[in-house]
């Protein structure tokens, strides 16, 4: 697991940390294109519940994922204080709705601890490691697993 974590962070050990409820998560800063405020989205018919809808990002149609619902927590009720992290993976650009961006971390690979062996869907699907920073616990998220299309590709 440590090897995997090392691979994931290879080439950039800067991570962006964000907050959902009372938990903190982080993603590789290299996959983040920008951070913007919440604006109302256009809902999509027949979309999974965690897809809030689509947004106009300077002419591109950007799907917005409610990270809270995606990670199995209660669906967010977006307010103007919510933040959208625009991320890119596999040539697709997707916005992640989170409560707030909390930190930008510079870490070494050895700081990433393997995820504890607990039997939960969340751990297997999204978590790729945990970090202990100043007494806080931050969970490293695998972005590819978050995107809806990667599911259908696997199926």
């Amino acid at each position: 697991m440590t090897d995997l974590a090392q691979n994931l962070t290879h080439g950039g050990r800067e991570l962006i940390a964000f907050r959902i409820g009372d938990q903190e998560f982080c993603v590789n800063v290299m996959s983040v294109r920008e951070i913007r405020g919440w604006t109302p989205v256009t809902p999509m018919p027949h979309a999974p519940s965690y897809v809030l809808g689509v947004l106009n990002l300077r002419g591109a149609v950007l799907p917005i994922i409610d990270m809270s619902a995606r990670l199995g927590m209660k669906p967010a009720e977006p307010t103007v204080r919510h933040v959208i992290i625009v991320t890119q993976a596999r040539n697709r650009v997707v916005g992640l709705l989170v409560e707030a961006v909390s930190d930008i971390l510079t870490i070494k690979d050895e700081n990433i601890q393997p995820t504890p062996d607990v039997s939960s869907e969340f751990e297997r699907t999204f978590a790729r490691g945990i970090l202990a920073i100043e007494g806080r616990m931050i969970c490293l998220i695998e972005l590819d697993a978050v995107f809806p299309h990667s599911e259908s590709e696997a199926a």
Partner: protein
């Protein structure tokens, strides 16, 4: 620029030349006897040969050479371009295209076929010789002498023998003239000649190797220094050359400069030399009366003069239409010629005129990516401009400020920019239509049917993406039309029709769309057979009550073929449903109408561009949706009395005494869980595939506008019921409704099911 790039350009040009060649041959086939058409055809083959020679593509060169030789016989009127001849030539054009493709992409050609055609072409070239004289302007000496030459046989026969000659004889010895004919060459270069890197000196030096010559340079066109265009060509030459190599040899010196200069080559006797020497002072190319006593030879020369005059006229048309400075340098003679050419062009048929103008319109090659980037940017600009004006309107209540007026102008400009950028991608459908001509020929050959393809509206323009995606379904349909639609010649004769079947392909613009029609005059759809087949394949029940139209539309079902035996061409049952799907994928519709005994007509209606769409902006359950305007037949406000319940959940609306199912868009898209009250909303009557009408219920209509289509798939996935997305003036994303999938969902096919099928496929 490395060799490969140059080669790539050569192949691109080859494609253009091949298209030119084919269209020229087809025009000849239709009875066009304009020498200019023959010249254009000849030129095309000649250019391909020239380029291929430069790259050492020997197969291509040798085939093109034989082809060119035969064409030359047509050009010099030794060979009548009748149906028989043109059939061989069209096939040769196909082989030439194959050879070009092989030269570019590798692979192999049907050697037997090209050898066979070479034999046929040679037979044509040798077959019907007219006993005429020197007028055989083959730029390259033919492998076999094209025809016996009457007036100067000795000279031509000696053509390949080494002959010693002395420069002392300069001045014209009577006895020599008897052996060595004198040629009068008038050589007027155009500035193009110099821009292409040719040089008159070199050409003249080459010419001097053929025999003694005297050169007179005419500088009378030279303007005063202040008016002089340093890039223009002002000088021209009159050369009198004595040679035993024949006129061909003289012409071949100018082979690669031929199209960039006015060239006259004529043989003169001694008595006419005096008259001819006056020539440079006269705009008239030649004094024919001087040759009257030479009988046949002069007749041939007259023809030759005509050819030259028409070549000159062509150049003059080009000159007249491209730039005035070309005119300026072309001198008095061609100015006069251009005048007459202009008149001639005006009198000529419209498509010929278009031909001429399209031939000379200056073009540049641009990467498609760059154009697309520009289109995207302009799309952004349009959206941004709309957002800006909306926010200005919101903050400016009286609406009279100068900002508002400026914005309006901006709006017009952006719209204009958008239109012009879209026009860059628009291309005539001609190349696709030309490819169909070949398909028809090949299938006609295989099936043993005699087929004639008539095309109309080839210059109709449509977005390049549409053109690219049109070729495949069209090929399929043409195959079907020839293979299934048309009957065998005997059967046609028995039915009182001509043995030759006609397939007609037309394109035209109609209300913002391009309509392509493919009709044949065959037997029409055999409805009994189609019906039986559909019953056999469990597409319909045996007692189904279907209208003729519905039966005809059965052929669009997957896995349907009525051909008794499955042929190589069609009948594998992957035909029309694939065609229909690819047309639908382009945002188009396809319809069929058939008359038994009179043939079938397929009508395709396609959007002109895939980038913008005229839509009706509507509200459904609080959401803004865009419905493509082309799908909407009419809109109406339903009255309570017109709504009828039909079973448990269905409702019908009566419109002018016919009942039409109501489809609640909000319900189908899962925007709301209960059906809306139809009386509170608006019904959009839409025409769906298969001819049936449906009334789509929406809450309100906001208005009509042109929207820029944005892909949902780029960052998300395909959404059933939604065709694409767009961005409205307020910056919000609006979804564009996929009317057909919504309608088919209302027929009981679940959208989700379709989605899973799409994912599986």
């Amino acid at each position: 620029m490395d060799m490969n790039e140059i080669k790539e350009i050569f192949f691109q040009e080859c494609e253009e030349q091949l298209a030119e060649l084919e269209s020229g041959l087809l025009r000849l086939n239709d009875g066009d006897r304009d020498p200019e058409t023959v010249n254009a055809v000849f030129r095309a083959v000649h250019s391909i040969k020239g380029g291929a020679g430069a790259f050492g593509l020997d197969d291509l060169v040798s085939f093109a050479h034989v082809f060119e030789t035969t064409l030359d016989c047509v050009r010099s009127n030794k060979l009548e371009p009748n149906q028989e001849v043109l059939k061989v030539m069209l096939k040769s054009a196909d082989v030439l295209a194959d050879l070009t493709n092989v030269a570019r992409d590798g692979g192999s050609v049907d050697q037997a076929r090209s050898k066979q055609l070479i034999r046929e072409l040679e037979a044509l070239a040798n077959g019907s010789p007219l006993p005429t004289a020197s007028a055989a302007p083959a730029p390259v000496p033919a492998a076999k002498p094209a025809a016996p030459v009457a007036a100067a046989p000795a000279a031509n026969d000696q053509g390949f023998m080494p002959v010693a000659f002395s420069f002392d004889e300069f001045g014209g010895d009577e006895s020599d003239s008897a052996d060595q004919p004198t040629y009068e060459v008038v050589f007027k270069p155009k500035s193009d000649l110099y821009t292409k890197g040719n040089e008159a000196t070199l050409l003249l030096r080459d010419l001097s190797r053929l025999g003694e010559m005297s050169i007179h340079c005419d500088m009378s066109n030279l303007p005063p220094l202040e008016e002089l265009d340093p890039e223009a060509a002002y000088f021209w030459w009159k050369i009198s050359i004595k040679t035993d190599k024949g006129e061909d040899a003289v012409r071949s010196v100018f082979e690669f400069a031929e199209w960039d200069c006015d060239l006259e080559v004529s043989e003169v006797g001694d008595e006419s030399a005096v008259v001819a020497s006056d020539l440079p002072m006269q705009p008239v190319p030649f004094d024919l009366s001087a040759l009257d006593d030479e009988g046949d030879a002069s007749a041939a020369m007259a023809e030759e003069q005509e050819n030259l005059a028409s070549a000159q006229r062509d150049e003059a048309v080009a000159a007249a239409e491209t730039a005035s400075n070309v005119l300026q340098m072309a001198g008095n003679a061609s100015r006069a010629a251009s005048e007459s050419a202009k008149n001639a062009a005006a009198a000529a048929a419209q498509n010929n005129a278009q031909q001429a103008s399209s031939a000379v319109a200056p073009t540049i090659r641009v990467d498609l990516d760059r154009v697309d980037r520009l289109i995207n940017l302009v799309g952004e600009l349009v959206i941004n401009q709309a957002m800006l004006s909306q926010s200005v309107i919101e903050n400016d209540n009286n609406g009279t400020s100068s900002i508002n007026m400026g914005l309006e102008e901006l709006q017009q400009l952006t719209r204009e920019i958008q239109d012009s950028v879209m026009a860059i991608r628009a291309q005539p459908v001609k190349p696709v239509f030309q490819r169909m001509a070949r398909t028809v020929r090949e299938i006609a050959d295989i099936t043993g049917k005699s087929v004639r393809l008539v095309t109309e509206g080839e210059n109709t323009e449509v977005d390049k993406t549409v053109i690219d995606k049109l070729a495949e379904p069209l090929t399929h349909m043409i195959r079907n039309a020839v293979d299934h639609g048309l009957e065998m010649p005997e059967k046609r004769l028995a039915a009182g029709k001509s043995a030759e079947g006609t397939v007609k392909l037309t394109a035209k613009h109609r209300s913002g769309r391009i309509v392509i029609e493919l009709s044949d005059d065959g037997a029409g759809i055999n409805r009994t057979k189609v019906r039986q087949k559909a019953i056999d394949n469990d597409l319909i029940t045996a007692d189904a009550n279907l209208s003729d139209e519905e039966i005809d539309n059965l052929i669009f079902h997957a896995g349907f073929s009525t051909a008794d035996k499955v042929s190589d061409l069609s009948g594998r049952g992957v035909g029309m449903d694939v065609v229909k799907r690819s047309i639908q994928a382009l945002g188009g519709r396809i319809n069929i109408s058939s008359k038994p005994g009179h043939g079938s007509t397929f009508t395709m209606s396609l959007p002109l561009t895939l980038a913008v769409l005229d839509g009706m902006v509507v509200t459904v359950a609080g959401q803004t949706l865009v419905v493509p305007l082309t799908a909407i037949v009419e809109t109406l406000q339903p009255e309570a009395a017109a709504i009828h319940s039909f079973g448990a959940t269905q409702r019908l609306i009566s419109i002018r005494n016919s009942f039409c199912p109501l489809v609640d868009v909000g319900r189908i898209l899962n925007f709301r869980s209960t059906q809306a009250n139809p009386v509170e909303g608006v019904a959009l009557l839409v025409e769906s595939e298969g001819g049936g009408q449906r009334a789509l219920m929406v809450d309100a209509i906001q208005g009509q506008r042109q929207v820029v289509i944005k892909s949902l798939e780029a960052n998300y996935t395909h959404v059933p019921g939604i065709a694409a997305a767009t961005i409205l003036g307020d910056g919000r994303v609006a979804l564009i409704l996929d009317v057909d999938s919504v309608v088919s969902a209302s027929r009981g096919h679940s959208l989700q099911l379709e989605a899973s099928l799409a994912a599986a496929g």
